[in-house]
């Protein structure tokens, strides 16, 4: 496979890889690095690519694995952020957000979900993959995907209505 041919195959979904990486890693720079890393890895597999049914699904799985590895090694280092360290500021934060961008508030809620739910929300609600594809990418069964998705959506709803009521009360 030639280089420009490869780029042609990759470009329809490279943004999706990037958004998935960003969902997990949060930082734009790290997500860019991860995407490049995955694409280069994909390129080195060049010869076997044409045998694959879906290069996109494969690339998504690679991105997921790469990012989870990154997160694991980051956590293994001693740079852990203890969550309850900043709960105190939550109240004023909510108030700030009441008049701030409500969209970024949704982003914050999603970013606080467990990793698996983050992945599923990203792939279903943002990238609009079918359940079958998500199950394949995450190496899970479809029912488990649906259950996790429902749980994630309900958590988002809960947090959203919480903040909404907070504004009224």
């Amino acid at each position: 496979m030639q280089q420009n041919e490869f780029i042609k195959i990759v470009s329809p979904f490279k943004d999706k890889l990037f958004r998935l990486a960003k969902r997990l890693l949060v930082s734009t720079e790290e997500a860019e690095d991860a995407t490049q890393e995955v694409l280069v890895k994909l390129w080195t597999k060049n010869e076997t690519l044409s045998e694959l049914k879906s290069i996109e699904a494969m690339a998504m799985t690679m991105t997921k694995n790469y990012c989870l590895d990154q997160l694991k090694s980051k956590r293994a280092g001693n740079l852990t952020l203890v969550h309850n360290n900043y709960t105190d500021s939550q109240a004023s934060l909510l108030q700030q957000l009441e008049d701030a961008d409500s969209l970024s508030w949704v982003e914050k809620i999603i970013n606080e979900l467990p990793e698996q739910q983050k992945l599923i929300i990203q792939m279903r609600d943002i990238e609009q993959y079918e359940y079958e594809e998500i199950a394949k990418i995450l190496e899970m069964n479809e029912t488990a995907v649906r259950v996790a998705l429902s749980r994630a959506r309900k958590t988002i709803r809960e947090r959203i209505t919480e903040t909404h009521n907070y504004g009224i009360g």
């Binding site: 490279k14 943004d15 958004r19 694409l39 982003e107 259950v147 959506r153």
Partner: protein, 150 residues
């Protein structure tokens, strides 16, 4: 769009039972301007989903063409050089040792004499290097004696 229909889809949505088409219906509904008051809280969720899809990967894809091949060739070249080096070394060493040809003095006294001389020279040369190092030890002895005058 009938409101109770939207509510029905929304319930299905939270149970994880909606199809892509139904989810798009929700997205359309919440991006419109007339969202029912009690559904307003959900608006940012769907707004965010549409917005999040806009982000793009703008970096270059760093593809080095045939990089693994280059590494392969380099390693082949290195091993060939190594092989050549080792074999020439072996060759010269063999030559040196072949200088001593096996023969008896009866066959050719001159050759035997020459060989013996060579062998003796080799031995004495090695011996000299040994003696040289002994000379250093003597030097130590001398200076030691100078300091600790007996």
């Amino acid at each position: 769009m009938a409101l109770d229909n939207i509510e029905k889809i929304l319930d299905k949505y939270f149970e994880g039972e909606t199809s892509i088409a139904e989810e798009n219906e929700l997205k359309d509904y919440f991006s419109s301007s007339d969202v029912a008051q009690h559904l307003k809280p959900y608006q940012p969720i769907f707004g965010y989903f549409s917005q999040a899809k806009e982000q793009q990967f703008t970096q270059e894809i760093p593809l080095q063409t045939k990089k693994p091949n280059k590494v392969m060739w380099l390693s082949i070249a290195a091993s060939v050089v190594m092989l050549l080096g080792v074999s020439t070394m072996m060759y010269f060493e063999n030559n040196e040792s072949k200088q001593f040809v096996a023969c008896t003095p009866e066959d050719s006294p001159e050759l035997a004499f020459e060989q013996t001389q060579k062998a003796l020279a080799l031995v004495s040369e090695h011996l000299n290097t040994g003696i040289q190092s002994v000379g250093y030890i003597n030097e130590y002895e001398n200076s030691k004696n100078k300091i600790f005058k007996k």
